[in-house]
């Protein structure tokens, strides 16, 4: 507490606490305050996209391609148009052709421009052929059936390894394609880095490991499917009410595809029922928008659950080839990863997801002197990949953390000891940070907070590691434990930007306007807490309004684990700016220097005289009586570091060797997310992500028939874990303080989806000795592996 005396620098912020390293003393942050939208959600008052009624609403349905790869030679809509109630039909023959990417990312997007609203070529079963807008959804569906389409069916390719071989059918042969790495080879994206020398490193290593890991398709399955409603406002501007994670990207992409200025579009995101990356895609809004522009009527698209599976976005399946060179003593010297991503028919997020496969996982073992990474993304005639929580990290950590256990076994080491020996620590960096970012080079960074060792220690005790590793039970059901350690990032450095506006009202409350997007994540609450802490008021005094492109400042949106860290940084800056303005008005009133004043509980207090003046009185004066102005600030935040959260995951499983069933008995997560702004919400993020990852590891898969059509596109045969399948779950937040984050915070949204696949795989290995290198660990796979192990001759 050394107040700056110099009157020449009145703008210098007064800092109540100079250098912090813990959450101690926070009044709002790090407390489980009531969720700002909790009551209205619980009582059903809060409105989701489809909760508002629009008179004259048109319903839009799509006609999808039954072929995996075909050219449309003729499309006849005569009969469909004659159906009573049909108002508008769109297809490639009557919409502008604007190649774009549906990936809602920073601009210019790192994804190729390979998609048109409708194209004369279809590239997977589920690709869009036409859209019909009608008075009811039944009429729209019926009209879709009445559209006659003639196809010239082309050979299709479903296997990414086949797709990039010479002679494979070329999926994107359109001349106006832009940004794909090598479309003739179906290569949507390619990236490669090498630090040191991988081959020399491997040659010198005492032990070399090489294996191949596979992860398949999965869908996010948010409880609310993609839904949007478009309409014209009083001044003929297009309003898009949509369940999106990226309102500002949605506005930009819709402007691009509809060929109208951004200013003619307003995007509103009301309450949202989950996204997990699926809603980082903009592929419905402009179709509804075009219907509205053509008919001047409100129009709605709401996807069915089946459409969510086959016609929206999925996780990019990956084949990851991993090579590691180690010394006898367990030091990892060489890491080499080659990832082949299957991006499906379009290259949305293809480059960045495959980049993150390496850039998120490889820094974990930063002692390695030689690090290689090649990432490739192949087009295939299958559903389209997109952003999905974990975003490449899931794929990368699966390979890395599975192999770590094989290394430990070979060296006769405890898997935790091997990890302890090699993992990144406080103050350290990794050459990978600078070499590999998202779609381009990254930024070097040293770990300013890291409690990974503590995470491992605490989890080890909680799962009773020493005992459970050796105890497998008698009888046909074998138990075992396994672990995985993880890191992620907080926002995309140098790219992600969030803006926030704070303004003071007469009663001492504050409007907080943010572009950031709450998807049910609780970010509205977390951002309000950050503002409240900085302004020294309770959360109730912060009136947050988010994600409306007409009223809130820009924000890239909810992805890349950025909201708390990046948008939160903007909120903190804006709040601190407003706080300085409040102090200077108070200084006028009290005739004291601003530096002698402090904010406390909605008042400014003189440190000398203890005189108090309320925010209300400060506001009334500044708005109505003397030297009038609106106390208000807009601030933006960009970060050139992306502080990783860290976690250690521990799984205890029971493997039934007679049926191959894997039962997850206990799951322990220890997580360092810096200061948890709202510990309960942070735990919720951790547990939700882990459940998602557990389900992906054990049951979720897309099953395709020989024509490339998904045959299990419903919850009947695509099995998500439900609450009844929940294992005993324990989440332990291990506090640290991240100096770059708002009030010490880092991210927690994604990291915990990456642990279950390797941790459970390692536990299965411990329980019954079989190593599985592809998920999901279905009973069929497990039983087959057990049989092969017990009867190697018969294999």
């Amino acid at each position: 507490m050394s107040p700056v005396k110099s009157p020449a620098r009145p703008k210098k912020p007064a800092r109540p606490v100079k250098s912090r390293n813990s959450a101690a003393g926070f009044k709002v942050v790090n407390h489980n305050v009531e969720k700002v939208d909790g009551i209205c959600l619980a009582t059903g008052v809060a409105q989701f996209v489809d909760d508002r009624k629009f008179p004259g609403l048109l319903f839009i349905k799509f006609l999808y391609s039954p072929h995996a790869h075909a050219r449309i030679t003729k499309i006849d809509t005569t009969h469909a148009e004659q159906l009573k109630g049909v108002r508008c039909i769109l297809h490639y023959g009557n919409v502008p052709r604007v190649l774009h990417t549906t990936a809602g990312q920073g601009y210019p997007e790192p994804s190729p421009y390979d998609a048109a609203m409708f194209d004369s070529k279809v590239r997977y079963v589920g690709d869009r052929v036409a859209a019909v807008a009608a008075e009811t959804s039944d009429i729209a569906e019926e009209a879709c059936r009445l559209i006659k389409v003639e196809y010239d069916v082309l050979p299709a390719v479903f296997d990414p390894e086949e797709a990039i071989k010479a002679g494979a059918p070329v999926i994107h042969d359109e001349p106006d394609l832009r940004g794909a790495h090598d479309a003739k080879r179906n290569m949507a994206a390619h990236v490669g880095i090498e630090v040191g020398s991988v081959e020399k490193g491997l040659a010198k290593a005492d032990h070399r490991f090489e294996d191949r890991y596979e992860l398949g398709y999965a869908q996010h399955c948010p409880i609310e499917p993609h839904v949007c409603i478009t309409y014209l406002d009083d001044r003929d501007r297009l309003v898009i009410r949509t369940s999106t994670q990226v309102p500002f990207h949605a506005r930009r992409i819709c402007a691009q595809v509809l060929q109208i200025p951004e200013g003619q579009i307003r995007v509103i995101k009301p309450r949202i029922g989950g996204g997990f990356g699926a809603k980082q895609e903009v592929f419905l809004e402009y179709v509804a928008g075009l219907v509205t522009l053509r008919t001047r009527r409100p129009a709605k698209i709401e996807q069915t659950r089946a459409e969510e599976f086959y016609a929206s976005r999925t996780r990019h399946p990956h084949i990851v080839n991993m090579r590691i060179g180690v010394k006898k003593n367990g030091m990892i010297e060489t890491l080499d990863m080659k990832a082949l991503s299957n991006t499906g028919a379009y290259g949305t997020h293809s480059l960045t997801v495959v980049c993150n496969c390496g850039s998120k996982a490889l820094p974990l073992y930063n002692k390695a002197k030689n690090v290689g990474f090649i990432g490739e993304a192949a087009y295939t005639n299958l559903p389209v990949g997109g952003a999905y929580r974990g975003y490449g990290g899931t794929q990368g950590f699966y390979a890395l953390e599975s192999m770590m256990d094989d290394i430990a076994e070979k060296l006769g080491m405890d898997p935790l000891a091997l990890r302890r020996k090699n993992h990144i620590r406080l103050g350290e960096s990794s050459p990978v940070f600078a070499a590999l970012g998202e779609g381009k080079e990254g930024y070097d960074q040293a770990m300013a907070s890291c409690k990974l060792s503590e995470c491992i220690d605490i989890g080890e005790k909680e799962i009773n590691w020493a005992v459970e590793r050796k105890n497998h039970g008698r009888g046909p059901v074998k138990t075992g434990v396994g672990c995985a350690i993880l890191m992620q990032g907080s926002g995309i450095p140098g790219i992600d930007m969030g803006g926030a506006t704070v303004k003071l009202n007469e009663d001492g409350s504050f409007n907080l306007l943010v572009g950031a997007t709450d998807l049910g994540t609780g970010s509205d609450t977390v951002l309000a807490q950050i503002a409240a802490e900085a302004l020294a008021v309770p959360v109730g005094k912060i009136l947050i309004y988010s994600s409306d492109t007409d009223f809130t400042p820009f924000d890239v949106g909810a992805y890349a684990s950025s909201t708390t860290y990046i948008s939160g940084g903007a909120v903190k800056k804006a709040a601190e700016n407003v706080r300085r303005q409040i102090l200077s008005v108070a200084a006028e009133i009290l005739s004291e220097k601003a530096d002698n004043l402090a904010c406390s509980d909605g008042h400014v207090v003189s440190k000398k005289t203890k005189k108090k003046i309320s925010y209300r009185n400060i506001s009334l004066r500044s708005l109505y009586s003397r030297n009038q102005f609106q106390i208000e600030a807009t601030e933006s935040h960009v970060s050139y570091v992306s502080p990783p959260p860290f976690a250690a995951h521990f799984a205890k499983v029971a493997v039934d060797t007679e049926t191959g069933l894997v039962k997850l008995l206990k799951y322990v997560m220890t997580v360092d997310c810096g200061v948890a702004i709202h510990p309960k919400l942070a735990e919720g993020q951790a547990e939700g992500a882990a459940m998602n990852g557990i389900s992906y590891a054990l049951t979720e898969e897309f099953i395709f028939n020989a024509r490339g059509a998904m045959v299990n596109a419903s919850f009947l045969d695509y099995k998500l874990f439900s609450t009844r399948d929940l294992p005993e779950m324990k989440t332990i937040l291990v506090p640290s303080y991240e100096p770059n984050g708002p009030f010490g915070a880092k991210s927690i949204a994604e990291i915990n989806i990456n642990g279950p696949a390797p941790a459970i795989g390692n536990a299965i290995k411990n329980a019954c000795g079989v190593r599985l290198r592809s998920i999901p660990y279905t009973p069929e796979k497990v039983l087959k592996a057990i049989r092969r192990q017990s009867a190697p001759a018969a294999a």
Partner: protein, 296 residues
């Protein structure tokens, strides 16, 4: 897309006679009990348009579970919830409760009927195997009379049943097994609840004083195109002591008797292997409670 409702009509008879008379029409109206199978088809637009026969309006069909002459008697509208709640069923026919509590969730259990499960004839039906293992008989009524068919003889192929279109299931009779019977019920599915099984075995075994098998029933679901009683294996086992050699012989017999299906839920190879493992587990079981202890 949902079916077009105007294409459907529902007959609500006020007596069983009226219902049986209505069933004489051609084509015969399809009975609708809980509707938990039929309504799914309706919503998917796959239910054939036409007339349907509402069973809820028929007083004779709405009767509670009864025990007569050592048999439990279910009516046409007996639900899974009815069975789960019944203390005698819980005690004397425990596999029915095990089956009932894993079917759907509470809503489906309160609505879905055993008769509907039988007539729907899904190879993965969860209610049928336990009934079949207990030697249940299906009472079929029509305007021309009443007959009884053993559930084990009810199916002859995928969705092929002994029921004529003019017949209504009016009762299911389930003999209570011997006190000393060893019962085994195990469903293997993708996840614990609300999952269609990959393999299910319901078994009953009665051992004589000499430890020889006096009676055995082995009923598999989800393995063959219909709920399947493995009679050849039963024949191999009857009269033998269930020791290692008998188990080996039984597994060998099962391997040649089963021709498992391949579908989205599992593979033929997996089904065969697990069917054999479950049989082994059952035969080596010594106490009646073992089946329950090892479920899931």
């Amino acid at each position: 897309m949902r079916s077009y409702l105007a294409e459907f009509s529902v007959i609500s008879p006020r007596s069983l006679d009226e219902a049986l008379w209505a069933l004489k029409q051609r084509p015969a109206p399809a009975p609708i009990a809980g509707g938990t199978d039929l309504m799914v088809l309706l919503n998917a637009g796959q239910l054939p348009p036409g007339a349907y026969l509402n069973l809820h309006s028929i007083p004779e069909l709405r009767r509670p579970i009864e025990f007569v002459n050592g048999e439990a008697c279910f009516g046409a509208l007996t639900t899974y919830a009815d069975a789960r709640r019944h203390p005698e069923i819980r005690k004397r026919l425990p596999m029915l409760c095990l089956a009932a509590r894993e079917i759907g969730a509470l809503q489906i259990q309160s609505r879905g009927t055993w008769a509907g499960n039988i007539v729907n004839a899904s190879p993965a039906a969860d209610g049928v195997p336990a009934l079949m293992a207990y030697d249940a008989a299906v009472e079929l009524s029509s305007a021309s009379g009443v007959r009884s068919v053993a559930l084990a003889d009810f199916y002859s192929g995928y969705k092929q049943t002994a029921r004529r279109p003019d017949e209504l299931v009016t009762a299911i009779r389930i003999p209570v097994p011997e006190k000393e019977a060893v019962q085994y019920y195990r469903k293997v599915g993708t996840r614990k609840f609300q999952a269609i099984s990959k393999v299910l075995l319901a078994g009953i075994m009665v051992l004589g004083k000499d430890r020889r098998i006096k009676k055995i029933r082995l009923v598999y679901a989800s393995v063959m195109p219909y709920t399947y009683r493995a009679r050849a294996v039963e024949a191999v086992l009857e009269g033998r002591v269930p020791d290692g050699a008998a188990i080996k012989a039984a597994v060998a017999a099962l391997r040649s008797e089963l021709k498992p299906i391949d579908d989205v839920r599992s593979t033929a190879a997996y089904r065969l292997r697990v069917a054999c493992n479950l049989l082994e587990e059952f035969l080596s079981a010594s106490s009646p409670s073992r089946g329950e202890a090892r479920r899931g």
